[in-house]
Symmetry: C2
Subunit: 451 residues, 2 copies
């Protein structure tokens, strides 16, 4: 198993070495992680990933194996032979303070999701790892929150494992669960994160029984399954003819049938047919589970049309989030100790890719957020809390994050909960405090400002 | 660390149990992994992932920890208490034969990328893991192949780690390298896969020096870096004013400047300005590296416009592949031993999501492929080779895969190498042999056919 310190871009290591050699490494620094803009298919983000990042960051060091590898590297090796560089790498231990918006809270572009305050060396090194985790998890949680809203209380099941990297899938399931999904198909996510795991049968299971009996093998498949999983049998009914499949499920499994799943075809029509057949068979309590490339728009359309869906299986759309397949969070230096020992605010100027100077806090009043200086007393609930450091008392559990998301989504105003694409004239409910604005204007003018 | 057997969907485990109880588990089975259709932004796929999957599949078992977890599960536990089920799970060991298109080869929709021949239990269980790996890696390699084609021999550097899950990033780098990228920024990919690792500095490095000297700190940043990394310094020049940054790089680093990187703004114009300044400074050998959300279309446009680009850094577009953010490979049962011991071909009928009966082979003649029965003697090079099993002599190394991709991409006809979107009337160069067609018609008619 690799060291998490290697889950990074090479330039973090070369910069670390250069900071050591020029004696910048120990300076106090503040970095912030934020998203510049959201695609028009999102009205908010659901913060996610910090709970996963913390155990990797806390006490992060370079393993002996990693140090040996660097020493052999043609570029890093010569740098590591310098005493100041070697001392920094060998003694490196992440112990910065980390402030973050708790997982499960709603956040908007421009708002810091994470603020890291430590030495320049430690705050810089973790950039890549933090971005990978937060970008991935927040991207998926933000999409899944919309799917949960669309399902209007019906359970959503995360079935996306096969559409993403096998390790990403485990954490995608976590993000979906935090956003309000009821369960995942991913077995390892159950083990690692304590998430409910669901799933019964694939088409191959039905086909396997068809080898003996042709399409009649479907009945045998259902009865074989229910013999072993009494009361837990949801039959996948669309391998051959979906409504005939429902009839076979009712007949083969009987009163203990938990439900049927439809995974292709005209789902609205088929769901109605399935519901009728189940009810007619005295199985009013059995579920009709729908899947087949569902997303929030398709789910909303099904429910708007009155489709009697009990639950939704969502795969590709939950984990690959094709309407916004990457989240562009960045991690920027916003303040640094200068040679005189003063903390100065800095920002980058590149067109469309600038950063925003100064350590910041988000104050929430309803969903009317004010972005101010971290030190500024402003009304409202401060969103960033200390999650790692001497003042931290953060509950990083999945259950706590899920509870926050549930409360947050329940209180969303319609302008944010809407599934409609965001129009160009619809901004985000975020304003900037006068003090922060003055600081940023001064930095833009003077390049740096002591704070 | 988790067992790879848990990187799966729950239903693989319930099906396994049901197969054990109904004594289907030991039947001979053949599954095939294939892609039904490609988005219009792709003209081919580059097969990728098998080399990563093989060590996970080979000898796969359930760990004691996994078995204990299943025993405690409210659904799996009771099933595991049955002797036949327990015996299967405890003695499970993947030892199926696996045939696959070697990594780095070009493949098309409908063609099996992987064929697994073993017991129903073992061939079924690995579905999810195989799909996760092949879908992820092939998606990225297929996009990166287009980027490599667009770059017309100039090196492409994979910078996407922060835009994907931290573990997926390591394997995304592998896929990009197989497709022809020159290097990755991902340190762990260097360790795990032996890929060249590249990277120098971020904007924060320049900003860190601006805390003392304002924008003039840029010069100090460059000279500090080059002191430590003599001859290896590529300066990121767009933190403030890009062309002024080039001047500062030339002055601060001098003759040993390896190159400059531009990451924002009008890249074509800035590249020209940077090239002129470097040449004027006597640095005709120094590189102009371009990055900033580049994809194959932007790269082609830059080169068509004569931009003097030496190399390209590609991040989001390489790993998130937003024009085709998921690959829809499926894994389907195509043949199974029946109760009489005969192997019968089977297929699923669901509309738009059917499968294609019978074990198959792809025969390549130029890029004119014929899909036939696995046992059928046809002209052309058989694409699927045994990669796991008694007849396997497969080179699963990254270098071998990269060499195959290089040869394959060099021989692509213009109709496939074109970066233009595929028109609806442009199909793929794949035909189906008469014998395979006859079999599939018979299965569609009769539900199953002995082969």
């Amino acid at each position: 198993m690799s060291s998490p310190a290697l889950l990074t871009d090479r330039y973090q290591l070369t910069m670390l070495a250069a900071y050591a050699e020029s004696e910048h490494a120990g300076r106090r620094a503040v970095f912030e992680l934020f998203v510049r803009r959201l695609p028009s298919s999102r009205r908010f983000m659901l913060a996610c990933g910090v709970g996963r990042a913390l155990p990797l960051l806390d006490g992060l060091t370079f393993s002996q194996e990693a140090l040996a590898r660097f020493a052999r590297d043609p570029v890093l090796g010569p740098a590591l032979s310098r005493p100041r560089v070697r001392t920094l790498f060998e003694g490196f231990r992440f112990s910065a303070r980390v402030f973050a918006v708790p997982e499960g809270r709603v956040v908007f572009p421009g708002e810091p999701l994470v603020r890291v305050e430590g030495t320049l060396a430690e705050a810089q090194l973790v950039e890549t790892l933090l971005l990978s985790i937060i970008n991935h998890d927040t991207r998926i949680a933000s999409k899944c929150a919309r799917i949960v809203l669309a399902a209007r209380g019906r359970p959503c099941l995360e079935f996306g494992t096969r559409r993403t990297h096998e390790q990403a899938a485990v954490d995608a399931a976590r993000a979906a669960y935090i956003a309000g999904f009821a369960a995942t198909s991913n077995e390892e996510a159950g083990r690692r994160w304590g998430i409910p795991v669901a799933g019964t049968m694939a088409h191959s299971f039905v086909l396997a029984h068809a080898a003996d009996d042709g399409e009649d093998g479907e009945s045998r498949a259902f009865s074989n399954y229910s013999t072993l999983f009494d009361g837990e049998t949801t039959c996948l009914v669309d391998t051959f003819d979906p409504l005939r499949g429902v009839d076979r499920a009712v007949e083969a499994v009987g009163a203990r049938l938990r439900g049927v799943r439809l995974d292709s075809g005209e789902l609205a029509t088929l769901a109605r047919g399935a519901r009728e057949r189940l009810d007619h068979g005295g199985l009013g309590g059995a579920s009709v589970v729908l899947s087949d490339d569902l997303d929030e728009q398709k789910i909303a359309a099904l429910l708007d049309g009155g489709a009697p869906a009990s639950a939704f299986g969502v795969g590709t759309m939950a984990v690959a989030t094709p309407d916004a397949p990457s989240l562009g969070a960045v991690y920027k230096l916003v303040a640094l100790e200068d040679a005189r020992g003063a903390l100065v605010a800095v920002q980058k100027r590149a067109p469309g890719k600038g950063s925003s100077a100064g350590p910041k806090q988000v104050h929430r009043r309803g969903f009317d957020d004010v972005l101010g200086l971290a030190t500024e007393p402003l009304d409202g609930e401060p969103l960033l809390v200390e999650v790692l450091g001497p003042g931290a008392s953060y509950d990083a559990s999945v259950d706590a994050a899920r509870a926050r998301a549930r409360a947050e989504l329940a209180s969303l105003p319609e302008s944010l909960a809407s599934l409609a694409p965001r129009r160009d004239d619809e901004g985000y409910p975020v304003s900037v405090s006068p003090a922060l604005r003055r600081l940023q204007d001064a930095v833009a003018r003077d390049g740096k400002v002591t704070i």
